[in-house]
Subunit: 400 residues, 2 copies
């Protein structure tokens, strides 16, 4: 039996409550001698860490730098090598589209072609986001359905937009409708398997319609379509773990990822303060809460070490409020590391802290190097879920 | 997707350079209270360790004692359970034969049979290596080809020799042409699958020819053939990891293993000094260097603890020369442990040290017990490659 089925068979519904606090990109390497966690003044994390068990996690495996999709799936208890989240899907989630299992999501660019159908600019001169929004509304008015397939068109930034084809029998195994390089002929999608023939037909009709509708909209007179992604068939958290889970996040993509695994999305404000307020207000209605703090990652990506430190210090202030709710299990960790030194995601492990009445207290501080000495050792992120469920007494015994 | 394909898809070519220094059999258990690494006076390793991240590796899994083949494959980034290197192949590599993908390598013994074809001595009275060499030259003169298959015959030690059959359509699924016990009839190879029929025919013709040619050479009047091994189809390091790798080793088998995965073999002398000189001389021409130090293992196998310590101290002296080359990543580890106490390979983990600009410094010494507290924890040797590639910034992000 695979691990997923083992957990499914062992999980039970209880009254206990779990809080998973994810500081995106928290993990770090020293920047002028200290990591962000080492530099930050965090009396509440320190106090919590003394009563918690610590460790380090790898989202994928040693040395692999994860994207947000696989690293979050791992935190939610899924094998990130088993479930793939295509680029088109992530983009659709990122602009707050609610997707269904009938959806084929695609990334698209507005582009320029000449009268011989040679693509002369893959980004249509990087048209403004406002122009993009107008073009998408214009296209959506004219294209609502192709055959029995509903078409949803939503703008992204600059020349980028997302198309969701919603209907039966759409598969993702297709070639890109994009020559990848300028100076080459416009390409149409080609089915790479029998199952994808319908998708190819619909996508190519879509492109022909766009060409017709936009013929006077130079430089945005065609569309390149790629990054096809079916809605993945992931068993939901309620199904696998018997949880009634809720997500609190300020960025659409993380809410999208949470929705993908069956979490309910809670309305919240833009600030960290509002996220913790949302937690308190909804605490009686769910038994699992995923709270996502985005800015540790954003400032890491910017190389802004001091601001990353400041965000950690801000989150630290709300820990007493979380503890006042008396969660049975509280985990604080990251999805991946985003060292300011590297200005991007990295392969370094995530600091991990688990607080519950049933832990061997490590009596350490919450930093990468102290977590390295924690009694949980180094383990895969996807085991976060089993550890949380176990500590919430939500897992039966395996075997007699 | 399997891990190998993930790494293949993520790896990119860069200018950064990696040095993998393997002290064969370095890992140890205490001998009169200390391991060889604990006993050795190693100021340079100690200094390096303070700036490095540490851990312990298992070549196969806990409790498994690896041979040199699988333990090196793991260090080179390959799953040692996926790729098998047959005994015949290792023997052929060990006597410096350059092999091709058309080769079927076999181990053979000179043996004695009586006039009723009963094997009376499986080792022909352990004839001398000199006699063996003469017999091999004699046989090679008379047997150059069987049908369309080239035959290469090379002596080993005492009664042992190696045969390489080079031609199309040779497979390894055959029974041994060896009764295994004395007092039994001479055996011929039997094909255990349709694909191996040609190999059986060729090998059995070879044995009949040997019997004819050696009929007056009692006690070496026949040959037993076994350990058939096809050249394995392993994707090369350049293909998988986009590296231009070079090997520096004094023993043929390690060069053979390196050649198997696509490394270029650099000429070097017999001494440790010459190996490091070769590294310096070739440093600008490659982006990955595997340096193999054999004698830590040899003295471990001899149970000679003091000499094992002395080799470690000798290698330590060259660390400043390596650092002076400014490699982006330097790893020091072993393929397996060879405790002097056990006089052989063992299942104990390998001490592991990785130095790069992007590590969380563990600030420890380079010993087994300090590595056990390192922030890399305990991990499979095959992840050595992903860690090295990551720290050399040679891996893209996994997933969006």
């Amino acid at each position: 039996m695979d691990k997923e089925n083992i957990i499914k068979n062992l999980s039970i519904k209880t009254e206990t409550k779990i809080v998973l606090l994810v500081l995106d990109g928290l993990g770090d390497i020293p920047y002028n001698g200290k990591t962000a966690l080492e530099k930050a003044i965090t009396p509440n994390f320190d106090n919590l860490a003394k009563k918690s068990v610590l460790g380090l996690t790898n989202a994928i495996f040693s040395g692999i730098t994860p994207g947000s999709g696989p690293s979050h799936l791992a935190l939610f208890g899924y094998d990130p090598l088993k479930y793939e989240i295509g680029r088109g899907l992530l983009e659709a989630l990122g602009i707050n589209l609610e997707l269904t299992s009938f959806d084929l999501a695609c990334r698209a660019n507005f582009a320029t072609k000449d009268k011989n159908n040679i693509i002369t600019d893959r980004r249509a001169g990087r048209i403004s986001t406002e122009k993009n929004e107008k073009l998408c509304v214009f296209l959506q008015e004219k294209i609502k359905k192709i055959e029995d397939v509903e078409v949803i068109i939503k703008p992204g930034k600059e020349h980028r937009f997302v198309i969701v084809f919603r209907g039966k029998g759409l598969e993702q195994n297709l070639s890109d409708a994009d020559p990848q390089k300028e100076g080459h002929m416009q390409q149409f999608a080609e089915a790479l398997s029998k199952e994808s023939k319908k998708s190819a037909l619909i996508i190519n009709q879509f492109i022909s319609l766009v060409d017709e509708i936009l013929k006077n909209e130079y430089p945005a007179n065609t569309a390149l379509v790629r990054g096809y992604a079916k809605f993945p068939s992931i068993p939901s958290m309620p199904e696998l773990f018997k949880l009634t889970p809720a997500a609190i996040a300020t960025y659409p993509m993380y809410n999208g990822l949470a929705r993908l695994v069956g979490m309910q999305i809670l309305n919240t404000g833009e600030t960290i303060e509002s996220e913790f307020k949302t937690l308190a207000e909804n605490f009686s209605n769910f038994d699992f809460f995923y709270i996502h703090i985005k800015k540790t990652d954003s400032y890491g990506e910017d190389g802004n070490f001091e601001k990353k430190v400041a965000i950690i210090e801000e989150v630290d202030k709300y820990i007493p409020q979380v503890l006042a709710l008396k969660p049975d299990v509280l985990v604080v960790t990251s999805d991946h590391s985003t060292p300011a030194l590297l200005k991007g995601h990295s392969w370094h492990p995530n600091p991990f802290l688990l607080f519950s009445p049933y832990v061997q207290k490590d009596e350490k501080f919450f930093t990468e190097s102290e977590c390295a000495k924690g009694s949980l050792g180094r383990f895969p992120s996807k085991e976060t879920m089993t550890l949380m469920l176990a500590n919430a007494l939500k897992l039966k015994k395996f075997g007699a």
